[in-house]
Structure formats: structure tokens, C-alpha cells
Symmetry: C2
Subunit: 282 residues, 2 copies
């Protein structure tokens, strides 16, 4: 069981920010990733539809064999975490509780901001999670539906991007928050732009970093951690699947994970299930 990889699922590239943190903090662990680029973004979809997609991604990785599942996607967490946790026999981790805890720990003026996709913000899951933990804070939230495309379409270097980000974030920054939760795993990929727009007084919470802290604790708690010795004998591996095209995934993942030998495989959505592209085409 310990030898199996940790499974990460996401609507596209965003979950790679969580993987990046895993490679840093948990070097002994193998990972298997599935990005649903073909159907990205999830943000504007109904939670019911997202829940169905998350189950499809989960079944695919479960068939490959995983010891833990990370829903590395805020919309997916909002839609399906409770259900997956209740049903699956392996530990399941989402990204919302970790980010909420970190924000409560961080804020000094008790004013927390949360940005995310329309799906995540409309679900109000961050606001509810934070307010359940402490009645002392005020939570401002804002849907930033255009941000995911900026990342997925690799448009961050365009000259119109920074003014757009400034404009979108203006109301939440002006509300007086001192802590801003990046409530979408795509957003750490545009941390520079968000930091520029929010100024030095606002502390950004990267849900990926916080999520991997939780993964690390749960691996230990359930005696699922691989040791350095095991890593020496049988080095950890990484495999990336996408429902989209291989080449752009390779380029963006390589850039973000700072690696040029990434193994990317393709899978296809076939009716209600996801299958490897090679099988599909044979």
C-alpha cells in the first residue's frame, strides 16, 4: 500500500501547484496526476456536473492504484470532497479546509479575503469553513472567473494582464483585508500578478502549500509514508495524465515544475468513463 502513488486530480493545470509542493516536501512519494484539460474550466459548471467529473477522474486513478487522493482543485473540493471521503476506503484530502486554517492563523486584523472561481465562491464553502472555526473574523469573497483562462491559455505575459488583474481585485483589496486566500489552485501560477495587485500588506495563502502539510500529516497518521531508505531502493516516480493534448501539457507542466523530462500520457472521455488514449484508439 505504501508503495502506491498519491493521486492528484484537477480540472487542468492548477493542481500542478499542489504537486510542486509535494515534490518539495515529500520527495519519497510517487505521484500520479490527472488533469481534465478537455473540460476545463470547472468554475462555471454546476456543482452536480463537477461532482460527476470528479468521480470519473477518481475512478481512473483508483484503477491505476493510489494510496491517497488529493482533490487539487477548489471547485472539485467544494463539489465532491464530502461524498468522496464518505465513500472511498483511502484518505481523501481537499484544498479548502487547509487554506481556511492557514488564513485564520495568519490574519492579524481579522479580515480575510477569498478569491476563486464562480463555482467555489458561489458554494460559499470557504466563508462557511472559516466562520465555523471562529466567529471573530470577517470574510470577503470575490469570484475571478477570468483568471483560470489567463493561466490555462498561457497569457500571463501579455501587457493587458496586470491592469486586468488590478481592476478585478480592486474591490476586495480596498475592503481592508490583510490576508487573501488563493482559493483556486491555478492562482499560485499568477502569484506575481496577484501580489502586485494586492500590495505588500496583504499576505497571500497558497492552498497548495497548506494542502501538502495536511497530506504529509495524514500519510504519517495512517502509516502510509515512504521512507528515505525505500526511496533509495525504489525511486519515486511521477506520471501525468491529461484528457487534453499532450504537447501543451508538457510545456506548461515543464515550465511550472521546472523539469524537462516529464512523462505525460493522454486519456479520453468515453461516455461516462475515462480511459487511456492508447486503449481507446486500439
Amino acid at each position: 500500500m505504501k508503495e502506491l502513488p498519491i493521486g492528484f486530480i484537477d480540472s487542468g493545470y492548477g493542481g500542478l501547484t499542489v504537486v510542486k509542493q509535494s515534490l518539495k516536501q515529500l520527495p519519497n512519494e510517487s505521484i500520479i496526476y490527472l488533469g481534465d484539460n478537455a473540460r476545463c474550466p470547472y468554475g462555471p459548471r454546476s456543482l452536480m456536473e463537477v461532482r460527476k467529473f470528479i468521480w470519473q477522474l477518481t475512478h481512473f486513478l483508483r484503477e491505476k492504484g493510489i494510496k491517497m487522493l488529493v482533490i487539487a482543485c477548489n471547485t472539485g473540493t467544494a463539489a465532491a470532497l464530502d461524498e468522496l471521503k464518505a465513500v472511498l476506503p483511502i484518505p481523501v484530502v481537499g484544498v479548502i479546509a487547509s487554506g481556511s486554517r492557514a488564513a485564520i492563523k495568519q490574519t492579524q486584523n481579522n479580515q480575510i479575503g477569498v478569491i476563486g472561481t464562480a463555482g467555489t465562491i458561489n458554494s460559499q464553502l470557504y466563508t462557511r469553513t472559516i466562520l465555523e472555526k471562529t466567529a471573530k473574523v470577517k470574510v470577503e469573497s470575490l469570484a475571478c472567473p477570468s483568471f483560470v483562462e489567463l493561466v490555462e491559455e498561457d497569457r500571463l505575459d501579455e501587457s493587458s494582464t496586470q491592469p486586468h488583474v488590478n481592476e478585478v481585485l480592486k474591490p476586495i483589496i480596498q475592503s481592508g483585508i490583510d490576508t487573501l486566500v488563493l482559493g483556486c489552485t491555478h492562482y499560485p501560477l499568477m502569484k506575481r500578478e496577484i501580489k502586485e495587485a494586492s500590495g505588500s500588506k496583504v499576505h497571500l495563502i497558497d492552498s497548495g502549500v497548506e494542502t501538502i502539510n495536511e497530506v504529509s500529516m495524514l500519510l504519517d497518521y495512517f502509516n502510509l509514508s515512504r521512507t528515505a531508505e525505500e526511496q533509495e531502493q525504489d525511486p519515486a516516480s511521477q506520471i501525468y495524465y491529461t484528457t487534453g493534448e499532450i504537447e501543451p501539457f508538457k510545456v506548461i507542466a515543464g515550465k511550472w515544475l521546472k523539469a524537462d523530462d516529464i512523462v505525460v500520457r493522454q486519456c479520453r472521455i468515453k461516455g461516462e468513463i475515462i480511459v487511456e488514449a492508447t486503449n481507446c484508439e486500439s
Copy 2:
């Protein structure tokens, strides 16, 4: 189940450093504490004897009703965590894995120091836990058997204390570590003296803080967290038991937790079990 307190057990006062962090980070949670002051320190005892004591403390709190157990004592964690986790139907958290993870995250020069009681250091549990997680670091460890008494006997303000602490810590500080794990929950009570002896370049890891992060995550993971609304309707309570004398416990706990209305009750060791003093004397 959610309404039950979190149980904390320790050989004496040390676990109060973990409780202090719980009161700060988890204000909605009730706590029940049992300090085995009558048999403190645990450090010089055999792990088998400590394991027996930990089971006695655990049975006492389990009869009172707890939703999670924190072994807020490094010697106790080294002796009994694995066994308790395997047997009890509630989550059990120790202090060693949390401190180890935090140290690995913190160190820049990959040289970590660990100080603790003779029991904890001889068990080598910190060293093994850290080296299992990463082969890159070097771990220096040092038993500081005199430190627990300095705290338990309230002798930190004596003029001989600081020179003694400097002298004891000299070898481990000189070994070149940049991170020092306070591998005994009593040590945060003498953080000022340890900081003075170790200098500004050494980062201290307080296992209490790290342990409560883990408690917070597990409460969420197992849906055991109390909400702010529940806290409003039914405020969280704190009860402290000691196998020692009530008055000195009240003074030291009050000083450390910065509270003067602490409810302290006494219990007695009667053969193989621990019972409330009132029952015992009736």
C-alpha cells in the same frame, strides 16, 4: 461525539504548553488534562513502565469521555503512541512526528538538533523519524535530564539556571545545527533560557505548536471540530486533573496559561488504576 473534550495527558506540567496552543488555535474545543505529577519525571524510567503509566492516564480520561487523545509528552509518545493508535477507537496524536516534520521544513543547512529527556533521546525516535523522511539531513541529539526538574520545581529564575543551560547545550549548539527541536513539552516553558543559550541563528521548534496544527487537521478530517456557533450556545470548558497536589498545579498552570480561574481536581493512583481523589477517599 463532537461535544466531548480533547484529552491531553502528560507526566506533569509540560503538556500545558500544548494546551496553551490549543486554547489559542482551537477556541471552540473543550479540553480535559491529566498530569501525572506524582510520578514525574518519566524521562529516566523504562519505556515499558512509561507505557503502563500512559495506559492508566488514558483509561482515566476515556472514562470521563474524550473525542481525541493527545499524548502531550515526548517520553510518553516514544513509549506508547503506536500501541494506543492501534488499539483505541478515537484518533490519537503524539508530539514527535509533528516536531520532526516542522524541523525538516525549517532547516536550511540540513543540520537538525533534538533535545529531550533520557527516555526520548535513548529511544532515538526523533532521529529515526527525521531520517526516514529525508536522507539529506544530519541529526544531533542530546539528553538534558536536568531541564524537566528546573521547570517542575519552578527554579527558572534562580541565578544558576542560565549558566547551567548554556553549559548543557554547548556541545549540540557547537555542532553547527540551525534548527533545534524542543523534544520535551516542558522545554517551551524555558524557551527564553534555551534561546539565550542557542543564539539567534538557531531556530527553535516548539512541538506543542506543531502538534496542535495536527490536532486541528485531524478534527476537521474526522468531522470532529466544534463550530463557533456551537461554542456560542455551549461554551468550551477546561478541566485539569493532577495525580499530585492541587495548589502547586494551580499556581504553575495559572502562570503558564495566564489564567487565574483554573479548575484543578486531584486524582490518586490506586494499584493499577487512577481514580478521582474524592471517590478514593470516600
